[in-house]
Symmetry: C2
Subunit: 247 residues, 2 copies
Amino acid sequence: MTSSVQRKRVRKSPDDRRAEIVGAAAEVALTEGLECITLRRIAEQLDVRPGLISHYFPAVEDLVAEAFGSAATAELETLLPVGPRDGSPQEHLARFFARTTGPAYDDMSRLWLNARHLSRYRPVLRDRVLDQEKDWRGRLSGVIATGVERGEFRTEDPVLAAVRILVVIDGLAGHANTGLGNHPATVTRLAAATAERELGLPDGALATPAATGEPGTATTLAPPAAEPAAPAVEPEAPATEPDAEPS
Amino acid sequence: MTSSVQRKRVRKSPDDRRAEIVGAAAEVALTEGLECITLRRIAEQLDVRPGLISHYFPAVEDLVAEAFGSAATAELETLLPVGPRDGSPQEHLARFFARTTGPAYDDMSRLWLNARHLSRYRPVLRDRVLDQEKDWRGRLSGVIATGVERGEFRTEDPVLAAVRILVVIDGLAGHANTGLGNHPATVTRLAAATAERELGLPDGALATPAATGEPGTATTLAPPAAEPAAPAVEPEAPATEPDAEPS
DNA sequence: GATGCTATTGAGTGTGCGACCAATAAGCAA
DNA sequence: TTGCTTATTGGTCGCACACTCAATAGCATC
């Protein structure tokens, strides 16, 4: 009896529900930030009650780490797919830079920044960040090593080269996120340019299709050489929502 | 009457008090993070009541921005002093890299990371971050421009070179803060190496005193040389406290 | 030594957070 | 259909936060 209507319940298998929760949290993390992963916010997203989230993740910190791991893993998968390499390592890297310096990567770079900062206070997240760094480094150095084997690249230490490349990308990300828009191509060019230097490639070898203007005048002082062959992969534009204030 | 002892009050001039508050907030920002700048925390630091902080900063967000600006300005001042240049631009840059890639810069790089992330949610801080970026960029490009005038450096666009250098430094900072310690010298070398390339300098020209091994062989494919000796410019060790959980 | 200005306090408001738990209903198995 | 397991709910607790404001006391001035 009584007027209080009982809420309709949808009962799902723990595995499904758990995956659903992590998915929602990853989405919130990408669009609004890791701090916005709260019991109430995720519950609202899934149209369930906060208690349910607590049931699956007794400590929210674990959900935060899981959400970051999920998002980062997914991004790495589209960034450097491990499966059938349909192109040369050089083409792979060119696509890699095209995406990481493009708008499609904005959310992800914000998330990396977010995770790096937050991992200062949250040990579980911190470990996840270290894991992801390892994965990204491993995947990238793998591509590089393959390139070296094929004689496309020349470097003594693929891992070191990978780390340096990732460092530059993160640096660009940090700056891009603060400014209103992205950096001009002359700045983002730094990423590919670093890679070219690390891998013994000619200037412009890893240039983004769009930036194919006058290669050689741009980079530094070098009057270069090779024309950048156009690798044909343009990243899709991600749907982004306005941010929310977490405090 | 009554047993409740009244708290002893120390009355100071608004200017002094305000400066004191900003100073305390800057210290907390550097050691514990911008999120730890709360009315209670800063009040405790100064042994006053929270209400007093509110009195000087009706919106905490303003204090946060002020604290960041204060800390960043101070750091820039020791990093690239504007006054009497006692050395050549090249020496200036070498010291710049020695410090930015050393342990004395740890707190500051964490703070930059912190501020960049937090500025996503706090407009006032965001503006401050942009201001500081402008200052740092201007100061660094100034040194570079001087070097160009003197024929020490060679670059088409000092500002572009400055931005690229700062991007690399921030990238290193982000990675260093996540990992347990700092990166090995082979990675941090990336910063000076980028600058050398941007400025048309020979490899190793900006190397840290310690890393001054075999200039010219080091940068990319070559095995790095010297073991770290005692650097001439040794930064003071900052007193660091264990972190607190801001939420 | 008295007076007035104001820097500082103490007490309180409302909000959002994670965490906890007994009660409840969904849906599978008998 | 009946019963049982358990996924899900609703409600509550305590804490930390920013912010407000009348009351109070330090101190310069007279």
